[in-house]
Symmetry: C2
Subunit: 768 residues, 2 copies
């Protein structure tokens, strides 16, 4: 761990004491989001020390011109950048005309931050003595409303402690912002209208190139102690800035408070010409509610989320805090109500990586959202890819594929590829497999076949086409091979016959064929529609069959394992424990060629296949492959430990499973990778959930039934989690002696516990 | 061919008629250079149409910050850029106050360019009618002196044809220039001193970061008809510009002529504080000589070059023009007198690629320079690498190698790596082999062992060390393998066991061991010195031996050929003739992954090994490998056809050899690759020479004797070439009936002709 200043607490993230060195890390950790917008935990008042300012609006991006050393045919021209949005949280504070700035004031005492995850708000308080000798106590509470997701609210109060003082509070909105992450220092935003109306201010801006129109707005009211006061402000405004400066003489120990609301209306959701009206309307609505009512709605919204998503851990407060931190940030990032959105790797906490959608969504995030929310949420994630199908087909065409074959992008915001390293962009094609697998996974979990009939089959067909065209016949092997790929282990590039890729390719084709068969039998009208739309012929289906039945899989007789790729055994198979500590992580110490020819594995690769398709292999096979590959794995992807944790638990190796769990659950809180200042690792947070539910809880779906094989790490007294299974919520409570099941629903539920069938009656505790 | 406007001529490159579309291509083709500086064929007078201005000074470069999409450990921070230098050729011309500008004038007639390769000068003439109705005849002759290589001279004359006119000639120097090729639009030059002294002007500039100091200078004199005139000029000067504007009233049909001399003095050759004095001195020297004497010296210098380097071809004027164009530009680029310089891929004709030194030098250029100049020239090219040995060791250290192992950079200017694609920079390591091979080749050709004793062995040791460390033991193969490389065929990346790489690695180690053995026996003092310096132990030598004796080579029993790499037979081996024409060149039409998994070969790879080490294989083996690999080769590197031409000739396939020859000899003149506007392909020009001398002439060195196996394409009547072999010049004249040998030297020379020993007596024609 690289930091330990976050205090252990069941429900809150707490920092005490002010240290400028931690400002950027805390800026990430204390971030707020409500699915529609988000922001790093920047201070409202001026701060002149090193900081990373960031506000983000879901789905508002900029196509930055691609930067590349050496151009290759097929690279995308543009790269969709996560865009720093106008700042609406700012409140400049002056005390006797001196700016309040924690970086320059004489002293800061009692500095404390709390991110209350149970209720969804962020509080900061401190006492600062300015250069002019005045000591002020400051308290600020901020939240982004889940209920009214275009708005956030701030309560910000200043109390002079050692004298009366002239205090000015200047709430502002500012659209003169730039990106931390930008390829060519282009200007991304253009503001075209600033309007001040009474105590409200509005700035209309549009993004260049993408032409998203955004109205940033704010409104404030002022109190001294409990009494609302009317002050005539000094107004400032220009094209990119608007502020009201309220000044009052505040007596010693009296509190000057501002309630500020602000946020964005966006033409993704409103008519472009109506953005100010929409902003007026949301301000009026929330004005009528007032800060306290808005906050109590917020608590209710979060209470609802936790009701179906909470995991409790007894006897390990750091583990408890870690898992809730992960669940909290996943819900801040994506709530599943808008199928145009997805789960960005940094959520609303930073800009790094760009794009918003990786195969992480399908491989790691869908299980979490599927089991903790109603099934429309996971369906929206599937719809997202369905809506990008045409772009994926165009993407494949750029690489020479034909006839409706689709290659989904490695990274995307709007369906277009955002990545530009040939070994990833063109070769890490297994991502297509995860997208098909998610369709299968959704059906397996929900039992709802309608998605496949309505949309999913089209995606499955386009993906099967891709694999059939991508495989080539090897006269040497007398099989179909897939040459020149990068597997999930990105520490090997341009390899031949990555077992995982070949396996999921074969599975994709088979699964597409199987669904075509079913829809042909059971949904004849749909079958005709789809066949017509996809221009599918018998000859083509035969060619799929030919490839899937004759797929080549590299295998070592000596080790009795499937080989990660053709050349794997040419490597010197020295295990990770022989690596000097000072050379780890190897991706920070070794040149790329050295990594590539090493046997070291970045994240689950063959084992990812064993995770997805566990029913295809015996426990003994799993054990053999785990024993072969895990000792070679450096887990330098945040997505690695979770899959290994699940598999280790399945093998009954609870100590190892627990160790892997620890590496994911507090990755950001403890800053294992020394990069938390850049933002949080959102998608891997879903993997942490997976480690507990699928790993320790052994949760699976077998033949339309939930199945469990509960185990518990010896470090814990008990843990519990909840599963929203087909509109009923099952709560599972595991302790060392037994497991309790409790159903919140209306119908009896048959489940398997250690392969034994058990019936759970609603609201009736069952102990096994 | 993509252009055909160059007129066929034995000794000159000629363009007739003015077409703005051709200005950039001709700017490359008519370039001038003298080894120390060079320039594209830009017009002296103003030209407002699209053009590419370029002047270059040998060895003056700028470390541009590397541009990269995704950083990898080990990438170089900086990239040495070929630097556009101040312009000294400019002469602004106005006629009755209207600027002479071929892009804007009413009409241009009789436009003609001639690059006289025999004598080394460039002439341009035309008649232009300006918008004001005045028609002027313009003639300009320009050359860069070989004898006084800091200076060039221009004779520029203007004759009003239809009226008298007020004509102003304004010679200038201008250091306010930028690069066409730049990563970050940084400023590269800073000028700090402009001085006008009588009719001379000087601007002193330095390059940022590298701090090269350059004084750009000029001096002019004016004539009306044959009479020198004194005109009081209007002087202009600022930090980056100096000019003299001479105006005269010129009667109809009278000629106003300016003789301008200019150039650079550089602190690579002078004390930084003495650059102006050095410029004064060279101006005084050349002033004393005058234009005509300087030009006649130029003719003499080129006559000397052709005396030992000319190739004649009878019965094919386009082939004749092509080969002389190649020999001419090679000599303009590099004359071999300065071991700090090398043969840039674009010479002084453009900026693309950056850096100056590739493995092209050792693999393709050294044979030309070795056989057409005295042996100090090739020795200087070897010294260049010796002088960079420490940098090559540091380069290898960055990639994790130890103990003095060296990896020479893929591209360099000063010994540091300039390239930043991991698959090239880190993996195209066979370049190390060519550097060792050049040492062997030099000794084989010259018989001079002193270089190996004095310097070469240190290089051989460092390279052998690299190969020993780079190879890893494969328990599967029970051999040493070399994983993760890119071979000469850059259309495969990160492959295992590239046969060429493994073969040259083995050879490098053996050759190093063999020379250590010889020096131990024959040069004991040197042996002790080298052993001490290199800290070489018996244990290390044993480890080399172990690797070289157990090197793995991929081989196909079925095809009875060595395989280009382990996975080659997994590919679908469709031959190039099945490729649709509209998809070629594939590097302009296919995405990179598709190229990589195709069987198509960019340039000789296995066959490069058969070319270097032809004595190791039988003719039947060569034929089998040629038949297997050539049909898969797309020859999309300018370095590909020459090697294939040599091998095809050896196999007696003269039609094919001739076809390959055609593809190299007029590559730029006919603009086969649609890129001549960016500059010429200098290094591949040496391959053209190789095609004739080694291919058609069958020239080799066997046991210290020149050996020939002359053949002649049926399209030619006869051809001749010259070889400077150990300080005697042998001229070989091949026609369909016989071959004639004539020796310019003092001692009898034993040669082999079709393996028959023949003695040539100086100045005594021998017909075989």
């Amino acid at each position: 761990m690289n930091q330990d200043y976050i205090q252990p607490d069941d429900w809150s993230i707490i920092e005490e004491g002010f240290d400028p060195v931690r400002v950027q890390a805390s800026g990430s950790l204390f971030s707020l989001g409500n699915g529609a917008m988000g922001q790093r935990a920047n201070f409202e008042e001026q701060y002149s020390g090193p900081s990373f300012q960031g506000s983000y609006i879901a789905g508002v991006y900029y196509p930055d011109k691609t930067r590349v050393g050496w151009w290759k045919n097929g690279y995308p021209e543009y790269f969709a950048k996560v865009l720093n949005a106008p700042n609406w949280i700012g409140i400049n504070v002056t005390v006797n005309a001196e700016a309040l700035d924690l970086f320059t004031c004489k002293s800061v005492k009692y500095f404390k931050r709390e991110l209350n995850m149970k209720e969804g708000w962020y509080k900061r308080s401190f006492e600062a003595t300015l250069q002019n000798g005045i000591t002020v106590k400051v308290k600020s509470i901020r939240f982004l409303s889940l209920k009214h997701d275009e708005v956030g609210a701030i309560q910000y109060s200043v109390t002079p402690l050692n004298n009366s003082a002239s205090i000015a509070l200047e709430p502002y909105i500012d659209s003169g912002i730039t990106n931390e992450d930008s390829n060519w220092d282009d200007q991304f935003w253009e503001s075209y209208d600033t309007l001040i109306e009474g105590d409200k201010a509005f700035i209309q801006s549009r993004t260049l190139k993408t032409n998203f129109n955004v109205c940033t707005f704010m409104q404030s009211e002022l109190f001294v102690e409990q009494e609302r006061i009317q002050l005539k402000p000094i107004e400032h405004s220009n094209t990119t800035f608007a502020s009201f400066r309220y000044t009052a003489e505040i007596s010693q120990n009296k509190t000057f408070t501002i309630y500020k609301r602000g946020g964005y209306t966006v033409d993704r959701n409103h008519d472009k010409a109506q953005l100010i009206e929409a902003a007026q309307s949301i301000l009026n609505t929330t004005d009528a509610l007032g800060f306290n009512k808005l906050l109590s709605l917020q608590k209710q919204s979060w209470s609802d989320i936790w009701d179906s998503a909470d995991i409790t851990i007894l006897g390990d407060v750091r583990a408890q805090q870690g898992i809730r931190f992960n669940i909290f940030h996943l819900n801040q990032t994506y709530l599943g109500t808008d199928s145009r959105l997805n789960i960005g790797p940094k959520g609303f906490t930073g800009e790094k990586y760009g794009g918003s959608t990786y195969w992480d969504t399908e491989a790691y995030c869908i299980p979490f959202y599927m089991a903790t929310k109603n099934q429309q949420v996971a369906r929206n994630l599937l719809n997202y890819r369905y809506n990008h199908l045409q772009k994926a087909i165009e993407n494949a065409e750029k690489l020479g594929f034909k006839n409706g074959a689709a290659l989904y992008p490695m990274v995307t915001m709007n369906g277009e590829e955002c990545h530009n390293e040939w070994e990833i962009t063109f070769e890490e094609i297994h991502r297509n497999g995860a997208i098909a697998f998610a369709i299968y996974n959704f059906y397996r979990f929900t039992g709802d076949y309608s998605y496949i009939v309505e949309k999913g089959l089209e995606v499955l067909i386009a993906i099967a086409r891709f694999w059939q065209q991508r495989a080539t016949f090897s006269t040497k092997q007398k099989k179909y091979v897939i040459l020149g790929v990068t597997g999930p282990n990105e520490y090997e590039n341009n390899i031949n016959n990555n077992w995982y890729t070949n396996y999921i390719a074969q599975w994709c084709i088979r699964y597409a064929l199987q669904n075509i068969e079913r829809i042909k039998k059971e949904y004849q009208t749909d079958y005709t529609r789809i066949l017509h739309k996809a221009k599918l012929s018998v000859a083509e289906l035969n060619s799929w069959q030919e490839v899937s039945e004759n797929m080549y899989f590299p295998y070592s007789r000596e080790h009795d394992v499937y080989l990660q790729q053709d050349g794997f055994l040419d490597k010197e198979l020295t295990t990770v424990d022989e690596l000097p500590k000072e050379e780890r992580p190897i991706n920070q110490h070794w040149s790329w060629d050295r990594i590539l020819r090493s046997p070291y594995i970045k994240q689950a690769d063959v084992l990812q296949g064993f995770y997805f398709f566990e029913d295809h292999f015996t426990l003994e096979e799993l054990e053999r492959h785990f024993n072969f590959y895990e000792p070679l794995t450096v887990h330098e992807s945040s997505l690695s430990p979770c899959v290994h944790s699940v598999l280790a638990a399945k093998l009954g190796r609870m100590d190892q499973a627990y160790e892997f769990y620890l590496r994911t659950s507090r990755l950001d809180l403890d800053d294992y990778n020394k990069e938390v200042h850049e933002g949080l690792h959102i998608t891997s947070m879903a993997g942490t959930w997976m480690s507990i539910v699928e790993g320790f809880g052994g949760m699976r779906v077998k033949d339309s039934k939930l199945s469990f094989a509960p185990r518990i790490p010896k470090q814990w007294e008990a843990y519990s989690f909840k599963i929203n299974f087909r509109d009923q919520i099952l709560k599972i409570n595991v302790c060392h002696n037994d497991t309790k099941f409790e159903l919140d629903g209306t119908k009896d539920l048959e489940i398997l516990v250690n392969d034994k069938l058990i019936t759970i009656t609603p609201h009736n505790l069952v102990t096994v």
